[in-house]
Chain length 233, copies 2
DNA sequence: CAAGTTATCAAGCGATCTATAGAATGTCAA
DNA sequence: TTGACATTCTATAGATCGCTTGATAACTTG
């Protein structure tokens, strides 16, 4: 009866370690990057604008919280999100915060510029199967290489202006990037529209797509009454 | 294009505030208590063994993170979980940590003593509808009053020994408490069994039940047999 | 084996967090 | 108004955190 308090403390201690991992913007940025795919320490340092030593230190905090794995590759160490649960947790936390932020002040939306037409996962899967659109991944190419939506072609946002010609003029272009709070796809759509092409933005990014695919692994043609989970409207 | 970084930082900043809220065992304990129902500051202080001033301070951290609401009631202030999303987040974080803790070391299980027979939500709903079991809520009575499973009667764990006679001898007794990591229901089941009565434990607590009911409000009739947890050595 | 990369460790310093105690505020009831 | 009570604020000291710098370790290549 007194092991109770002890074990409860142990549990809360463990949760607090995880909480701490979420309590620094630098670590959140690292998590956000890792959600796109595995990276080495100094890639992460570069991408997040931190020194290698500092990045390493933060990664160790994440490691202690069990949120990332690491693996030596010769002279470098590659970190990755630990598992699907961690990704899910990160996305949940991010979305809750984002929703709140958006409610209180519209800041989160504003920076994305004017609204851009979006489409959802199901419509994309549908039309991708019919082949009547072209899907582009506008993230940096190494993120594309680490994983991307099947059927997408890589056109990093920085290269889009020079590569407009590659895209067929008669089909709608759909762009996606890191997720709902990444501006790449917004930029891409605006550029495309400025060039007179029909374009829209996928409303999710690679990490969310990946998670969703895992639940409905086959080609989600038109999802006939998928009983994934009972959910009353 | 540079509002991007700014807004992203704002988002991450907001998430970090939430992370910080999760980063102290004292606050986690407060959250855990609030998951059972609204409470005033010094009730919370008493329950968590902290001074009122300190409790107030931590509650303000939670408030700043948007995770609790507060309401003046005459001379006292009653805090409550902000919304369902927060509850969901808390449960998710707790479960992930608990699962990990249980993997690495079995500590989380051990304090619960020997395993106790459990039953799931669907079976409970089923049999509750048929009326062939008696459901008892063994949490402190004010938590029962703040919300409980429909059809349950309140028998706080401390009163159980004196009130055994209230329970019909010919029906199975099912006990529930705060959740999977609370020992009350385990104790109750062991006491009941020691008294020669058939008893089992609901595998979730009030917060989880409440959440689940919101999604499937009607009575969830029957579902295929649920695999029980396997027992460890 | 030596030189060069990459990552981690160790120490240090300022900033932040935590808990305590005492003062101040707000509310109710007389 | 005054007194009683619940809560919050303020000040403080000690602990922890976050980033930097310089040294060390692990590994590859010449």
């Amino acid at each position: 009866m007194e092991g109770q308090r002890q074990a409860k403390d142990a549990l809360f201690e463990a949760i607090a370690v995880m909480g701490k991992a979420f309590a620094s913007t630098v670590r959140l940025e690292l998590l956000d990057l890792l959600a796109q795919g595995p990276r080495t320490v100094d890639e992460l340092g570069d991408a997040s604008g931190q020194s290698t030593a500092n990045t390493s230190q933060h990664l160790q905090t994440l490691y202690a919280a069990g949120m990332v794995t690491r693996e030596r590759e010769g002279t470098r160490v590659r970190y990755a999100l630990a598992d699907e649960e961690t990704l899910r947790l990160w996305l949940a936390l991010r979305d809750v915060s984002a929703r709140r932020l958006a409610e209180v002040e519209r800041a989160a939306r504003e920076y994305l510029g004017g609204d851009v037409e979006e489409l959802g996962r199901d419509e994309l899967a549908d039309r991708l199967a019919r082949g009547d659109l072209v899907l582009i991944d506008v993230r940096p190419s190494h993120e594309y290489e680490a994983g991307h939506i099947d059927g997408a072609r890589s056109i990093p946002i920085a290269e889009l202006p020079q590569r407009l010609a590659e895209l067929p003029a008669d089909q709608e272009v759909v762009a996606y990037c890191r997720g709902p709070f990444c501006a790449y796809a917004h930029d891409a759509v605006r550029q495309l529209q400025a060039a007179g092409r029909p374009a829209r933005r996928l409303d999710i990014g690679w990490p969310e797509w990946q998670l969703a695919q895992q639940r409905t692994p086959a080609k989600p043609k038109r999802t006939p009454a998928k009983p994934k989970r009972r959910r009353a409207a």
